[in-house]
Amino acid sequence: MKNEEQIIQEEIKKLKKKIYDYIQLVKVLLSLKLHFERKYKAKAYVEPSVWYKEDKEKRIPDLLILTSDNTAIVFDHKIIESSDERTVRSRLRRLKKYYGTIIWKEKEYTVNYAILLCSKETWQNILNAGLIEKPMTWVYKLVEDEKLYYEINIFSPKSIKIKDSLLSRIISTYKKHGVIKVERPYEATKYVFIRQKPPIEYVAERVYRFLYSRMDPNVDEEAFQLKDIINEFNWYYSPWVLAEGEAKQLTIGRLNEALKLLDEIGLAKYKPEEGVVIVKKIKKLSGELLDHILEKIVKHRLKAEAKRQTKITNFFH
């Protein structure tokens, strides 16, 4: 039987893994975007909203690369933690929805290749699942040499004929060198959140840090207006470019959820009806901030769960 402390530590570990996976995803997408823009002068967009001509549906691929005046490729990032055949098959099937004709900034492009983007661990799970058919996959691994870069291995099924000239160039470079190197530039730090929902615990930590930085050194708590937080955060962390306009990294929805969480764990007093939050300073902390916040969150959730269980038990007695 696990004791409470073990349960808390395990939960913290799980949350940290989730946060790290999210950070990795943001950085790998941005690194690939900059790689395509800088090396191939292609237009690249992270999580754009694109309209599909055939079914008039809007979809959001992780990465869209315009490879010519009328062709595009799409990357879809996946984390698959199981090698169960059915799970893997069902997750990979979802790639198919990205094929077709898209309308991007009033022009039509044909997506002939929807490429799976994943880490080595996910790729290993896919291989272990033993599927006969696998999609074209870019498998990345962060490595260091003179600089930090992603080493990318490309799996290209024999049945696929590469018609796209840019993709064909990349594949022949890969065949020549056995690997593609994509630099992870420091600009990757401009982006904290993408449109894919970040772990709310991570948003809470970043928001708390952001507000703490702005506090007067001689006070224990300070009030901030929600609209100022949104504006200032999005000044320093650039918005993502979409077909129409931009997507802010910190949305009001994310901020609202993060502030509620900070309120629940006693680091803030959130007054949504007044559009104000009063942030409280952590006065003493011996360990790490992320661990401290995660521990408070986990304890709060366990307490809430225990309360709920007691209510149910009482109801049936």
Binding site: Y20, R209, M215, L289
Partner: protein, 346 residues
Amino acid sequence: MVSAKALSVIRSIIAEHKFPIHMFVVFPRVNVDEIGKLENRARYKGSYLSVTSSGDDVFKFFVKLKKRQAEGYIITYKSFWIFLTYEQKTDTRSVISILLKKLYPLIYYQYIHVNDFLDIIEYLSRIYRITVKEYLVRSKIVQGREKKGKKFTKVTKSWTEQRFSRDIFSKIMEKEKGIIDALRLTISSYEFFADLRLYRNGSLTLYKGEPDIYPDIYTFIIEPYVKHALGSIEKLSRVKRVFIKDKLDSEIHPLTLIFEGYKLTKDDYELVLNSLSKQFFISVYYLGNPIFHALLTDREEGSSFEIIAYGNKVEIIPDFKASAESLQIVLDVFSSINPHSKYVVM
């Protein structure tokens, strides 16, 4: 320069032989007419401080920590201030060191690079006969051999009696795998003698000296120290993140620290975390191969930096608020891993 009144205060303290006399060179973030803010800051940090004017650039201060107290003067130069005090009942140097930490970020001290520190003494040795009596070396504790508990660095005090030579200290640092933090020197010529300890962070303890020694201390020690410190602050203040309104984008100017011929280890990262955790809120997002990735926020003044370290490199990426003073604290900890580090600001 300072007023005759300020110089006479300094002279009288030395003339009255109140040795050891302590001087702390600090850099203010407030104007002289806002000096009262120091009292508020001390109160917020749980101490008592009173500052009263004794002239345009001379202020008398009295500080009371929980059990200890001290008094002295603040001499205000244009770009820096000197906290001047002498040994009283308790360990006065430690009282003032604690006070200065509490007064951060209103004032701060600056560690200069060890090469700049040795440059100052080398120049001094061309004019005076310099004998080194004692030196403090800060070095990291290597895992397995001496590492006990959570201690990652040690400061070794060694006694000697030898003429200053830069080569000797370069060899000592090489041997000890650390950096010189302070030197106790006797400075002499035919009509001049002083016994003092110089610290790399701009503080100085005078154990013996003639009443008229201050102008020489100012010219040969304080002035070059301030020049190096301000030069470093100026360079580090280029590390920032700027929002470009018309492009709706931000421009980042990071700092890259390079350790020539040295590969950073997991122990080094733990040393950094351990040394910085009192001053910064740290979140480690990844610690291991091939990278160390963490975010730091200065607990007192809010500057934040993203640290990405791998191989022989440390990238320090400024967040929306990043002061040179705060960054300097981070750099100094990294320099205790290996003194042969160089940095580049992009």
